[in-house]
């Protein structure tokens, strides 16, 4: 046919182009996976020998060269929980407010949004400086798990808000309209209709936040401190895993093997949190929504 000719002249290079792009994309993926597997393998090679249950529960000795990371795990979890306990309510409340309760263009809304966007771009070390100046010195918390947790909470806020807000915005407008038309209050609409739909996005944001928080070094250097003993209260200083890894590799001669092992533990921990959170989200959504 007449038009076939045109297409036939166009066709081969399209096919070629498609193939080439596909090849490129596969190459990129191979490269990325390759490099990441390389890092992981390096870590495993360096640290797997040390990894054992004992390593997880015993205290570090000899500045971390010997012993385990028991106290450090505890500090890490404490700092993380404080950060989440503080950041989640504030962050999610802000997200709900921004997405559901005030018009996007209102001055309060745009002010909040602007400051969150700035916060999202603030380097973690600046958070560290701020936490040191505000929580540790001005509020007198000293080097403590509390101060570190609060600093991290500030850092997590923008991530939590933006993911949760995006999740809510992705819920079709029609749900809101029909809920309103049924005379439901906005709070009820939120809890019974919007949240169940948005929850995977929230969970993803939460996970992203936990990942960031657990891997954070710079913000905690000046706030939660270096002490590697078992914390007895929230006002004690406690060294988190990422900082432990940093210290072992930068400051302790012969600290490489435990640093590798600690990094492995951190990654496994994140993986576990990831899987558990995904599972819980799924269960919850299923219960709420009766999806099959």
């Amino acid at each position: 046919m007449a038009n076939k000719q045109i297409v036939d002249t166009g066709k081969p290079n399209h096919l070629l182009r498609d193939r080439a792009i596909q090849l490129l994309i596969y190459l990129v993926v191979l490269c990325v996976s390759g490099i990441f597997l390389w890092i992981l393998l390096d870590l495993i090679r360096g640290g797997s020998a040390l990894l054992s249950w004992d390593f997880l529960i015993s205290m570090p000795r000899d500045t971390g060269r010997a012993g385990g990371i028991g106290s450090i795990l505890v500090s890490t979890l404490l700092v993380l929980s404080i950060a989440l306990l503080v950041a989640l309510p504030i962050g999610w409340a802000t997200a709900v407010l921004l997405a559901e309760f005030i018009p996007a263009m209102s001055s309060f809304g745009s002010w909040v949004r602007y400051s969150l966007q700035v916060l999202a771009g603030v380097p973690s070390i600046v958070f560290g400086l701020f936490g040191y100046a505000f929580f540790s010195i001005y509020l007198g918390m000293g080097f403590s798990i509390l101060s570190g947790g609060l600093t991290l909470a500030c850092m997590l806020l923008p991530i939590l808000v933006s993911t949760a807000e995006a999740g809510l915005r992705a819920v079709p407008e029609s749900y809101r309209l029909s809920a309103a038309a049924l005379g439901m209050s906005r709070a009820a609409t939120l809890f019974h209709v919007l949240l169940p739909v948005a929850v995977p996005a929230w969970a993803a944001g939460l996970l992203l936040g936990i990942g960031r928080a657990a891997a954070e070094t710079a913000a905690l250097m000046f706030t939660s401190g270096y002490v590697d003993r078992m914390p007895e209260s929230l006002l004690d200083s406690g060294r988190v895993l990422a900082l432990h890894i940093f210290d072992l590799s930068m400051n302790v001669p012969g600290g490489d093997a435990p640093a590798h092992a600690s990094a492995l533990v951190l990654i496994l921990l994140l993986l576990m949190i990831n899987l558990v959170a995904m599972h819980l989200t799924h269960l919850w959504q299923r219960r709420k929504l009766n999806t099959e």
Binding site: D62, T63, I137, G142, F143, Y226, S237, M250, V252, P253
Partner: protein, 250 residues
């Protein structure tokens, strides 16, 4: 700081030692807590002045404007020049080192090594190791032409051990620890005195520094007890384990 808790902050060189000291101190005095934070000597001074810390750790001699604090030396440490183990250069004169660091000598073959560009590893501004090094070679930091600037000791060791043409300087203790465990690293003698703990102890090695614990003029009873403990013979083995030199109490 409460009556049963001691907070130490300051030099990252002393911190590992202080942690071990604290651990033993705690076992001797149940109910005590010793918290050690690292950072740098300046932070030790700062925090002690502000009262955030009971004791500051300072890995250099006290300066003139720091006479408001009371310093006690608990150990000695040396600074050693390090190169990669594969570097054929066995020794450098004081002048050669100064020239290398100021960029007048840029190739190893000028000092009898292979034909390769020298990578100068310097420390970041403010570190006491840097201050000591500069003072010894009578240089100013602005004269140094570094290729890499590092923070902590281990970063220096990792940089030099990963680069056959690098030259840097770190705490002798740390370097010796790693060198003995197979890290490709070589300590160069200084003024033809081998950089080793032994020579440091003899007092032969020229580039050494005191490791101080500082307090405010009237230390708390607890801080005083800890400092006394740190200087006592009970702590010698801990000091030596970190490759430092205990100072003998008279």
């Amino acid at each position: 700081a409460s009556s049963h808790k001691l907070v130490l902050t300051g030099s990252s060189t002393i911190a590992p030692l202080a942690v071990e000291l604290g651990r033993r101190f705690e076992s001797l005095h149940p109910g005590m807590r010793v918290d050690v934070q690292t950072g740098g000597s300046a932070r030790g001074i700062n925090d002690t002045r502000k009262g955030i810390a009971d004791i500051g750790m300072v890995s250099r001699a006290m300066k003139a404007d720091e006479q408001d604090l009371q310093a006690v030396t608990i150990a000695l440490d040396g600074i050693g020049i390090i190169v990669h183990a594969s570097n054929p250069v066995a020794a450098l004169t004081r002048q050669q080192i100064a020239d290398i660091f100021t960029g007048k000598i840029t190739n190893w073959h000028e000092v009898g090594g292979k034909d390769a560009r020298i990578t100068v590893v310097n420390k970041a501004e403010g570190r006491s190791t840097l201050e000591l090094f500069l003072a010894y070679f009578q240089l100013k930091n602005s004269e140094i032409r570094p290729h890499i600037v590092i923070g902590d000791n281990q970063q220096g060791i990792k940089t030099v051990s990963g680069n056959p043409h690098a030259i840097g300087y770190v705490s002798i203790g740390a370097a010796e620890y790693d060198a003995q465990r197979g890290v490709p690293l070589k300590l160069l003698p200084l003024d033809s005195v081998a950089a080793s703990v032994v020579n440091l102890r003899n007092g032969d090695y020229p580039l050494s520094r005191p490791l101080n614990l500082v307090t405010r003029m009237t230390p708390t009873a607890l801080a005083k007890r800890f400092i006394d403990f740190a200087r006592s013979e009970q702590a010698y083995d801990l000091v030596e384990m970190q490759y430092f030199i205990p100072v003998s109490v008279d």
